[in-house]
C-alpha cells in the first residue's frame, strides 16, 4: 500500500507502484484537470508541482512521490485565483484550453523559483509545454503579467 499526499489530502494506492502518477490522478483519484498529451515528458500537458518543482506526471511513478507534496491544478489556489490563473483570464490566453492546465502549473512553478522572470527566462521555462493552437504570445504575456501584478 502506497500513501500519497495530493493537494493536502491522503490518497491510498494498492496497485502497481510503477503506475505513472498521471493515470493515478486522472483515473484512480478522479483529478482530471491534469492532462495526457504524450506520455513521454515531451509536451508538458501533465505538469504538476511536487514540493516546489514542476514535474511531468506521465513519467513519474506513484512510488516516486511518496512522502512528497503533490499539487495539481485542483489544489493550486482555493478559489482558482492564483496570479497566473487571473492573468490567464485577463489576457484571454486559451483557445481549445487542453494544454493550459499544464502551462499554468509550469508558470506557477516558474514564479516560485523566479518571481520576476524576463521574457527570455519565460520562454526558456515554458519551452517544455506545447500548445498546438498557438497561444504562445499570450502565454508569454500572461506569465509576465502574473509576475508584475494582476
Amino acid at each position: 500500500m502506497i500513501t500519497l499526499k495530493i493537494n493536502g489530502q491522503q490518497k491510498n494506492w494498492d496497485g502497481d507502484p510503477d503506475l505513472p502518477l498521471l493515470w493515478f490522478l486522472r483515473d484512480e483519484a478522479g483529478l482530471t484537470g491534469t492532462k495526457y498529451g504524450c506520455g513521454q515528458a515531451l509536451c508538458g500537458a501533465c505538469t504538476v508541482i511536487v514540493d516546489k518543482q514542476a514535474i511531468r506526471a506521465c513519467i513519474t511513478s506513484v512510488s516516486d512521490v511518496v512522502d512528497r507534496e503533490v499539487t495539481t491544478i485542483e489544489g493550486l489556489h482555493p478559489t482558482g485565483d492564483h496570479a497566473v490563473q487571473k492573468a490567464w483570464r485577463q489576457l484571454n490566453v486559451p483557445q481549445c484550453g487542453f494544454c493550459q492546465v499544464g502551462q499554468i502549473m509550469q508558470a506557477a512553478a516558474l514564479l516560485l523559483e523566479n518571481p520576476k522572470p524576463n521574457h527570455d527566462q519565460i520562454r526558456e521555462a515554458m519551452a517544455g509545454n506545447i500548445c498546438r493552437c498557438g497561444c504562445y504570445q499570450r502565454i508569454e504575456n500572461a506569465v509576465h503579467l502574473a509576475s508584475t501584478g494582476v
Partner: protein, 772 residues
C-alpha cells in the same frame, strides 16, 4: 419552424467526393426526386443588413430557426441558449449564443450555455468544419434571437393590454415607455412560451448600430474560467461508474490486419482485465475503425503497459511497401507530364512556347498529422439497442449516424454528448474513435473509454495529403506574365471513401488551384493521377496549404526573375479590381457557397495586401540577416495577407521577430477570437513549415511522438504577431476565420528567408535546409 431542412441523406463531403465518379448522375437525380435542391438558406433584406445567401441550406439538415429549440428562460430570468456546434478553440460556443443574446436583448451575465447533443433534425447541421459556423449561422442565430424577443414583447403587451408596437425589449426586460412599466424576462417566460412563434419574414432585426456584443470583442469565452481551474470537461475527462479503460494496438500499415496475437504477457500486467481482438474494416471504409487488439484495464496506465506487452503478427496488405522518398519521385514524375485539365483559358502551351522567359517552380509538401493536444478519445455506454457516446467530436450528427449504422440500431437510439474538444483541426471530424468505444462497450457490456496515445494519433490517423505542385510561368519581354500552368498531384481525400480515387475532388481543386485569382491571359490547371497509400483526411486549411505555398512562392520567384518588389509583383498579378470568372471550371467548389454572394473579388484581395503592407511596414529598413516576405490567399471565402520578418544567423538558425496579418472575413462577431485564431495560425504555419512531416517506410509511419515529430515551441515562436481586421461593409457577408490564416504563412516565411539569405526553399519542412 424549420426554415430549410435539407432532405438529403448524404453528408456534404460525401456528395462532393462522389461528384467525380459515375454515381454523380444518380445522386443528382435522387436529390431531384427527394423534393427540391435547396440552394441556399433564405435571408431577408433589412436596413443595414442586405440580403445575401449562404450554402447553409445545402448542408445536411440545413438550418433550424426556432427559439423553442435554442432558447429557454427560467422564472429567475436565467436565459439558457443552446450551442449546437463543437468548441475546439475557435470560440464558437460563445459567439453563436452571443448572437442570439444580442438580438433578444438578453443580458450576457444572465445567459448560460447548454451544449446540444447530436441531433441534426432538431438543431440543423452540426458538422463543425470548413470554417463555416459564423458564416452559416449569423443570420439564423439573429432570427432565433429576434423571434424570442418578439415573443417576450408580445407576452408583455398582452399582459398590459397595449399594442405590441408600443413595447420594447431592453437589457433583459420589456419596457412600455409610455407608462413607464417594465417587466423582467423571467416574469414573462411562461407567457412568452404560449405566444406563437413569429414568421421569419416578419421579424424585425436590430439595427447593427445598436449592437452591444456583436463585433465588439469584449466578451470572453464562456469556458475561460473552467479552463484555468481545470474543471473544463474534455472527452478524456468523462468518467462513468464501472467504466473500463481501453487502448488498442492498430495495424501499423493502412489496410493491414491482425494475423495472430499472443496476449498472455499483457494479461500478467497489474490492472489489465482483458485482451481481445476488435473488428476492423477493410481500407477504404470512410471513418470505420482500423481494428486490432484491445487491452482493457482498470486505468489507462495499465492498459498502455499491457499493450506494450502484446505480441502481434500483422498482415500488412497492399500498402506494406509505401515509402515516402519513392512516392515523392512518383509524384514529381506525374507532375512533369500532362494531367487532367481542370481549368483552361487561352492557349497555355503556345504562350509558354512563345514566352521570352519561362520560370518553373516545383514544390513538395509532405503528409502532416493533426496532433491536437488531446489525442482522439471517446467514452461509450451501449446497453441493448441503445448507445450513449461522450466525446470530442466535430460532427455530432455524423457520429450519431455512423455509430447507429455500425451497431445496426436506429439513430434515435444513439445519444452523442459533445464535450469540449482539446483541439480538432479536422481530425475529430472523423468519428472512428467513437465507433471503437461503442463496439467495445457492446462487447464488454460496460461503459468503455478508448484512449489513443500520441503514437496512435500520429501513426493511425487521417493524414493531410502529400503533394507536388509544379508551376510554369511564361513572361514576355516587358516582364508581364502571359502564361500560367499549374499541375497539382496529390492523393485525394476521396480515397478514404472509395477505392480507386485517383483525381482530386472538386472541393480540393477549388482550394487554391482552379480558383487562382491572377489576371493572366493563358491559364491551365491540371490534376495528374495519384493513388493514396494511407488514409487521407481534412487537415485545417486542407489543400490550400500546398496551393498557397506554390502560388505565392512563384510570385516571389517571378519578382526575382524580373527584379521587382514582391509586393508590387503580387498586386500586378492580382490585377484589376474585378470579379473573377471561372467559366472553364466544371463543378467549381466555392466552399459550398453561392458564387454571387461569395465571388472571388480581387478588390478585396488587393485590399488585404495593401493593408498589411501599410500596417506591417513593407519595405521598412531591417537589420542585416533579416528579410521580409509577403503572401496573400483567399480561402474559406475570406481574404488574408501576411508579412513575415525572419532573421537567419550564420549558422542557419531561423527566428521570426515579427508577423503582420490582415484579414477580411466580412461581417464578424468576435474580433478578439479572430485575433487569437490568426495568432495561432502563425504558430501552426511556422510549425508546419519548420518541422511538419509524417513519412513512411515499409508502409509504416516513421514518427511517433514530439521527439521525432516536433511541434513549434514557445522559444521558437514569433516575437509578435499583429492582426488587422478589415472593417466590413454594411452588406459584406461573414466568411471563414478558423482556417484561412494558415495557408499564406509558410510562403510568406519562405519568401522572407529568400530575402534574407538568397536561398529558395521549395520543399517543406525546412528542417536542416538552412544549415547547409
Amino acid at each position: 419552424m424549420n426554415m430549410s431542412t435539407n432532405p438529403k441523406k448524404l453528408r456534404g463531403f460525401e456528395r462532393y467526393v462522389k461528384v467525380d465518379n459515375v454515381s454523380r448522375r444518380s445522386i443528382l437525380k435522387g436529390l431531384g426526386l427527394a423534393g427540391g435542391f435547396v440552394l441556399a438558406a433564405p435571408v431577408m433584406s433589412r436596413p443595414g443588413f442586405a440580403a445575401y445567401k449562404t450554402g447553409a441550406g445545402e448542408m445536411p439538415h440545413g438550418t433550424v430557426v426556432d427559439p423553442r429549440v435554442f432558447v429557454a428562460i427560467a422564472p429567475d430570468g436565467i436565459v439558457t441558449i443552446v450551442a449546437h456546434r463543437a468548441e475546439m478553440g475557435t470560440g464558437v460556443r460563445t459567439s453563436l449564443p452571443m448572437i442570439v443574446a444580442e438580438e433578444m436583448e438578453a443580458d450576457w451575465s444572465r445567459v448560460r450555455i447548454q451544449q446540444a447533443h447530436g441531433d441534426e433534425v432538431k438543431f440543423g447541421n452540426q458538422d463543425t468544419d470548413g470554417s463555416r459556423s459564423t458564416r452559416h449561422y449569423l443570420i439564423p442565430m439573429r432570427q432565433i434571437g429576434a423571434s424570442a424577443r418578439t415573443m417576450l414583447e408580445g407576452a408583455a403587451a398582452k399582459r398590459w393590454g397595449v399594442p405590441a408596437t408600443e413595447v420594447k425589449a431592453v437589457n433583459h426586460e420589456v419596457v412600455h415607455s409610455a407608462s413607464g412599466r417594465r417587466i423582467g424576462f423571467g416574469d414573462l417566460a411562461a407567457d412568452a412560451a404560449k405566444q406563437s412563434v413569429p414568421s421569419v419574414e416578419g421579424l424585425r432585426l436590430k439595427d447593427p448600430k445598436d449592437f452591444r456584443y456583436l463585433g465588439k470583442g469584449q466578451i470572453s469565452m464562456v469556458d475561460l474560467r473552467d479552463i484555468t481551474v481545470g474543471t473544463a470537461r474534455y472527452g478524456a475527462d468523462v468518467r462513468l461508474p464501472g467504466m473500463k479503460y481501453a487502448v488498442i494496438a492498430r495495424p501499423p500499415v493502412t489496410g493491414g490486419k491482425v494475423a495472430s496475437f499472443d496476449g498472455a504477457a499483457a494479461m500478467k500486467v497489474s490492472g489489465v482485465e482483458k485482451v481481445m481482438e476488435v473488428k476492423g474494416w477493410p481500407w477504404p471504409s470512410k471513418f470505420q475503425p482500423l481494428g486490432g487488439v484491445a487491452v482493457i484495464a482498470r486505468n489507462t496506465g495499465a492498459a498502455i503497459k499491457g499493450r506494450d506487452a502484446l505480441k502481434i503478427v500483422w498482415d500488412d496488405g497492399a500498402n506494406g511497401k509505401y515509402e515516402s522518398v519513392a512516392y515523392r519521385a512518383e509524384l514529381e514524375a506525374a507532375a512533369r507530364k500532362p494531367g487532367l485539365v481542370v481549368r483552361k483559358e487561352g492557349d497555355v502551351e503556345a504562350a509558354l512556347k512563345g514566352a521570352d522567359k519561362v520560370i518553373v517552380g516545383e514544390y513538395y509538401l509532405p503528409h502532416l498529422a493533426h496532433v491536437a493536444m488531446e489525442p482522439p478519445v471517446a467514452v461509450a455506454d451501449v446497453k441493448g439497442d441503445k448507445a450513449e457516446i461522450w466525446g470530442p467530436v466535430q460532427s455530432a450528427g455524423g457520429t450519431r449516424e455512423d455509430v447507429a449504422k455500425t451497431l445496426g440500431i436506429p439513430q434515435e437510439n444513439v445519444t452523442v454528448n459533445v464535450t469540449l474538444l482539446g483541439g480538432g483541426f479536422g481530425r475529430k471530424s472523423k468519428c472512428d474513435f467513437a465507433i471503437e468505444a461503442a463496439l467495445l462497450s457492446k462487447e464488454l457490456g460496460a461503459p468503455v473509454k478508448v484512449q489513443w496515445t500520441r503514437e496512435d494519433d500520429i501513426r493511425n490517423g487521417f493524414l493531410h495529403t502529400v503533394s507536388v505542385e509544379r508551376i510554369e510561368a511564361g513572361l514576355d519581354k516587358s516582364g508581364k506574365v502571359t502564361a500560367w500552368r499549374h499541375r497539382s498531384v496529390a492523393p485525394s481525400i476521396a480515397s478514404t471513401f472509395a477505392a480507386g480515387a485517383l483525381h482530386q475532388a472538386p472541393f480540393e481543386l477549388g482550394m487554391g488551384l482552379v480558383d487562382m485569382p491572377f489576371e493572366i491571359a493563358n491559364v491551365q490547371c491540371e490534376n495528374p493521377e495519384a493513388a493514396a497509400r494511407t488514409r487521407i483526411g481534412w487537415f485545417r486549411s486542407v489543400s490550400n496549404i500546398p496551393r498557397a505555398f506554390a502560388v505565392q512562392s512563384m510570385v516571389a520567384e517571378l519578382a526575382q526573375a524580373t527584379k521587382r518588389d514582391p509586393k508590387d509583383m503580387l498586386l500586378e498579378l492580382i490585377g484589376s479590381p474585378r470579379i473573377v470568372k471561372l467559366d472553364s471550371v466544371k463543378d467549381l467548389w466555392n466552399y459550398g457557397e453561392p458564387y454571387d454572394s461569395y465571388p472571388i473579388d480581387t478588390a478585396r484581395l488587393r485590399k488585404v495586401v495593401e493593408l498589411v503592407a501599410e500596417k506591417g511596414g513593407w519595405g521598412r529598413s531591417i537589420p542585416k540577416g533579416h528579410g521580409l516576405g509577403i503572401a496573400a490567399h483567399r480561402s474559406f471565402v475570406s481574404y488574408i495577407a501576411t508579412i513575415v520578418e525572419v532573421a537567419v544567423d550564420d549558422k542557419g538558425k531561423l527566428t521570426v521577430p515579427r508577423v503582420d496579418t490582415a484579414i477580411d472575413c466580412g461581417t464578424y462577431v468576435n474580433p478578439e477570437r479572430i485575433q487569437s485564431q490568426i495568432e495561432g495560425a502563425a504558430i501552426m504555419g511556422l510549425s508546419l513549415a519548420k518541422h511538419g512531416a509524417v513519412t513512411f517506410k515499409d508502409g509504416k509511419v516513421q514518427q511517433g511522438n514530439f521527439d521525432d515529430s516536433p511541434l513549434l515551441r514557445i522559444d521558437e515562436s514569433p516575437a509578435v504577431t499583429n492582426v488587422y481586421i478589415v472593417p466590413p461593409g454594411p452588406d459584406t457577408p461573414p466568411s471563414g476565420v478558423g482556417e484561412p490564416g494558415v495557408p499564406p504563412f509558410a510562403p510568406a516565411l519562405i519568401n522572407a528567408i529568400f530575402a534574407a539569405t538568397g536561398k529558395r526553399i521549395r520543399a517543406l519542412p525546412i528542417g536542416k535546409q538552412l544549415e547547409a
